[in-house]
Symmetry: C2
Subunit: 684 residues, 2 copies
């Protein structure tokens, strides 16, 4: 229950929105805000009610305008007119979603995928020859990796690039319908070249997937894309659930010849005579290294998803603080939506989760910059970065979908009108959950990495450590895995104050609970999978499959822990007492809703007593009205004005309408002409 | 773990899809299937890539065609050319969503709301005068209830209808912007008349909300809507998140005069001299009785949501049974998606929940028919029906959104293409969660009813009963509310087989767990709210608000219990052993995922031991591969062929592409020209 003291305390605090905004916007805040404000330009904003064709044409024009504005070249080398600033590039890039997510994705295709593939998979000759056209958009390009038959399983694509030493050419070929490139941005209309991923075959050996630069369409003198070049074909993917400003399509190749030099040869090269060479000996490691250079897409998708979550929450909370519905204790005054407990329950945990996703994303951006600027670029750094991105992107893209949908419903019928943005955001963000790596596939990657790390820890241990470990496990098995420890804890909980209600607020207790869950889940799966060692392949496969769901849940728990830690670190950096207190409540809310969601795990595994479990929900219920006082400031700190967002509902129109209605009723009462209600007549 | 025995057993069973289809389609199955097949007519199907204006025009034409086909008149009186068949009408009506949800909603506006309001709120003179035009669509009509300022709180609308005895007319007036009628179907373009809800004021007394028949636009000789009539104004709501075949708009009235007889006067009338009379004395009961006659909308929205869930699952499961991705134990054969545990975890519980929603909906349809055919039409019957509809509609509309989204993601990038339907279904169904009563508001209504019923039970009890009850509670408080009972149960669980793993499969155990939760939650809230008795209004209000979330959760639990009971009843009626066994597994899956979702509640409240809690998830994991064998048959039993659904992805194209790919690799291998993989070279 909320006590009056809690409420007074909460409303007495002042949130320093400027300080919070700096934390939220992170290291590249200044650039981020500059790009955000550029998005107020009408030329860049999404226009309603365009046909698919009109929307595509507009977004292409807008992309050209972005080149003029110099907001798309930050990641590229200084010597070609760029800034060598990978981190700043991503931060600014994410803000394109403010104008129109189609613009962000169109730019992502051109500069984040097509251009980045040339930069990271090509070598200096490719940079000099191909990057200028990619950067200034005189060559709109495709990133032709995905095939109809193979999405997340890139290694299995069917397109071949067979080397012909006689001609010193590669022959790019699509052997069957399932190997058509599919869902490829710029493929339906605008692309004149493509980076095509294909199985590199030379001298009778398949060296696995490599990237090739392939011109695909004629270019008219005015730069417009013309007909397909000989041997190239394709079709339009047609209308999509959203992002209809991007011209996705299919491509196929009928023995298309390209010069040997069009192989982007940083990680694998073919000599004129057909001899293959690579700086990375293992084909598996080589493949993952090549794919790893393209992590930028995953990083920025997650960041854009957080941008849209922030705009959705800003809109729904502004509206919920104005909109009134149903009279409360006073029969003449309707209750403001934000005062309803259920409305707080729906919106405030999403606000806390959005902050958490943002802070984790800021750390990810930092790591990304360190790797790609060369500041910290070891193999290990790259692997950590990929795991971090694979954990962050699923969480933040799903969070965006949940947030947008909840906000749309929280605004009722008004939330369904296109003018209030939620519905187009949902349509655009929908595919973020499956592109640049299906979210479940990514979480499984994270889970496998957790298992590997666990195995390494075990392997590294010396005999004394192993003995200690086994002893610990034995204690653990007795205390955790049976109801005994739970019973013991209940008695403790009842008998002393040491582990009572208050403790769940303690960050150390939250961290311990979140960490313990990840570790225990991973360990449990690892122990179960030991039986697969030496078992026939099908048995091992079946065993692994029977733990797939658990593994994905462990990865999710790991991601949530990282979010919690990033949030906690951000809070610790706040110097202003009031602000730190409010942000600590918000972090607590994040920690507690995460624990509450998995409460049965904590109970079953004896990590928490029934009595303490109750305090999780009751403390959440105490936090909600406190944070409700600061909800408006907490969304203002995101830095998206109603003009950035562009949702009519978030511009104060509802408050205006209510003042008008109140004035009408007041005047009628004053005039003496107010009809008596039959209800009140009957009461008296 | 899945044992081989389980698998064999599961695959040995044969599901009688015809018998299941009959159960699913229910009492009006024949009519339902007739309408479903009519929806194969190209004239009725949604066309892709229409502008909003084109889509609206097409749906209007389709609606006229429905009149020709005689599928929209079943609910109306025989003497006017109808069938007096309210239940059959709704069943058929729900199937319109197969062609296009916009068509269903356009029809819902015309016949389910505009026509139904005339039928249920008007009297014979209105039926004779107004129903024929509503039925044959010569008068496209609006149901003008919702206002910009008031959605679910209908009692607070601002529009007035003031009686003028001198002219024997009502003056319909919109006093301020918030009182504009909003989100009204047929208002933007096609409507020529409206049933307008307004505060009825006569002789200085406001008798609350009543319905009035108001012509709003001129009608051209060809029946097309012309300009607004004098005093009437409005505007277009513009593009929406979906349902863009329906022309929603706003209406306002500037002292528009209508004859006294245009009051739909079944529940309240005004004599020529201005004297008000009503067969229902209490203004509150009168209001709820009037609104209650319009329950049809809620019933059919829930049913259509189930229709779309079924089509989405049929598509995703057909695809998941064809699509392969990543090699398994055999490095040459990729694993079919449906074999992945995670894919089963994502889709099969939704399949179980969709069946549960269907069976509950069938019972609701039966109750609806009994009330509106007059078979069982007491005040109590109507109240029960409304509560049932208020519980069913939120659950089935939210389920549809979750199902569509999960299915879309489960189909990856292909799921995002408009040609595969998921995205437009989601866009159309989105608003079902908030129209015809916001889902949370409806669940709160259910919760309040549960509290009232609980109070009545208490009030009815005699002294002996009360003593017994208190004693029971005392025991309950000791055993349930403290860890004691849990501890006791753990010891029991450990010591005997009586309450061990197998029991959770027992339907009585499932029912007990589900029932117990609803009862205990309601009781706990009721006890907490006792403190509000006699407290000042603001304190009472705050206390109620602090339990709002719990109350809504109790209502949800109640709805899930009703779904489980309906499912169990349906299963019991199956005579074929194999079919009953499979359907029992599916019912178990529904029961267990519902219990699993709330497992922490059961653990905290000592209803289940930690040990037994583990068996919930492990039994779910055993059910999944068994049901996986029957997943295809279980969706075929829904009766939606790929032609009904119209999703390209569900027509076998993926299987065709895979056969082609396999043939290519086989031929290449046979030719001796297959390149060696570098990987396999290095291995050897």
């Amino acid at each position: 229950m909320t006590t009056t003291a809690d409420r007074t305390a909460a409303s007495d605090l002042t949130l320093n929105t400027r300080a919070v905004a700096d934390l939220v916007d992170g290291r590249w805040g200044e650039h981020r805000r500059r790009v955000r404000d550029l998005m107020l330009d009408e030329r860049l904003r999404r226009a309603d009610n365009l046909t698919v064709a009109e929307h595509r044409a507009r977004v292409l024009e807008q992309s050209r305008y972005l080149v003029e504005l110099e907001v798309v070249n930050r990641a590229f080398p200084e010597r070609l007119g760029g800034y060598d600033d990978p981190g700043g590039n991503i931060a600014g890039f994410e803000e394109l979603a403010v104008a129109d997510p189609s613009l962000q994705i169109k730019g992502g295709v051109q500069w984040g995928l097509f251009g980045a593939a040339i930069l990271h998979l090509g070598t200096e000759i490719h940079h000099d020859r191909l990057l200028p056209g990619a950067m200034d958009l005189t060559v709109p390009g495709c990133f032709a990796m995905t095939e109809t038959g193979h999405g997340s399983d890139v290694a299995a694509i069917g397109t071949t690039a067979t080397y012909d030493p006689a001609a010193e050419e590669f022959e790019i070929h699509t052997p069957f319908r399932g190997a058509w490139k599919d869902y490829i941005g710029n493929a339906a209309d605008h692309g004149t070249a493509a980076v095509v991923f294909a199985q590199l075959i030379t001298a009778g050996v398949n060296h696995g997937v490599h990237a090739f630069y392939v011109p695909i369409r004629e270019t008219a003198p005015d730069g417009a894309a013309g007909d397909f070049l000989p041997g190239v074909g394709g079709e339009d993917d047609g209308p999509k659930g959203g992002l209809n400003g991007v011209d996705n399509g299919r491509l196929h190749f009928d023995r298309v010849r390209i010069p040997r030099e069009n192989l982007l040869n940083r990680y694998g090269d073919v000599a004129p005579d057909g001899t293959y060479s690579s700086p990375i000996d293992s084909p598996g490691r080589r493949f993952f290294t090549m794919l790893g250079t393209l992590v930028q897409g995953r990083v920025s998708l997650g960041g854009s998803a957080v941008v849209v979550s922030k705009m959705a929450l800003a809109t729904a909370i502004r509206y919920a603080n104005e909109r009134r519905q149903f009279t409360g204790a006073d029969e003449d005054v309707e209750t403001v939506l934000m005062d309803y407990q259920q409305h707080q329950r729906r919106l405030l945990p999403l606000l806390a989760r959005t902050y958490a996703a943002q802070f984790m994303h800021n750390q990810l951006g930092q790591r990304f910059h360190e790797v790609f600027s060369g500041e910290h670029d070891t193999d290990g750094d790259r692997q950590d970065l990929e795991t971090l991105a694979a954990a962050s992107k699923p969480l933040s893209t799903w969070l965006a979908l949940e947030t947008i949908q909840t906000c749309r419903e929280a605004c009722g019928g008004a939330g369904y009108l296109a003018e209030n943005k939620f519905v187009t955001w949902h349509q655009d963000m929908d595919v973020y959950a499956t592109f640049e790596g299906d979210n479940h596939v990514l979480l499984q990657l994270v889970g496998k990495r957790l298992l590997t790390d666990y195995g390494r820890e075990m392997a590294k241990m010396d005999v004394a450590g192993a003995v200690r470990w086994v002893a610990d496990r034995a204690v653990d098995m007795t205390l955790h895995r049976t109801p005994l420890r739970r019973a013991a804890q209940s008695i403790q909980d009842g008998g002393s104050l040491a582990r009572s209600a208050g403790e769940i607020r303690d960050p150390d207790a939250q961290r311990e609970l979140l960490e313990d869950r990840v570790e225990s889940m991973v360990e449990e799966i690892a122990l179960a999978l030991r039986a697969a060692k030496g078992a026939p392949a099908d048995v091992a496969q079946a065993l692994f499959n029977s733990h797939q769901h658990d593994l994905i849940e462990a990865a999710r728990a790991h991601g949530e822990l990282l979010q919690w830690e990033a949030f906690t670190e951000a809070v610790a950096s706040i110097r202003d007492d009031d602000t730190r207190k409010v942000m600590t409540w918000l972090r607590d809310l994040f920690g507690l809703v995460t624990i509450e969601k998995n409460l049965s795990w904590y109970l079953i595994n004896g990590r928490i007593s029934a009595q303490r479990a109750r305090t999780v929900t009751s403390y959440i219920n105490r936090l909600l009205p406190r944070l409700r006082h600061h909800a408006q400031d907490l969304v203002e700190a995101f830095g998206y004005s109603d003009k950035h967002v562009g949702a009519v509902i978030g511009t104060g129109v509802e408050g205006q309408r209510q003042r008008e209605a109140r004035d009408y009723y007041r005047r009628r009462r004053a005039s003496g002409n107010e009809p008596v209600s039959e209800k009140s007549q009957k009461k008296s």
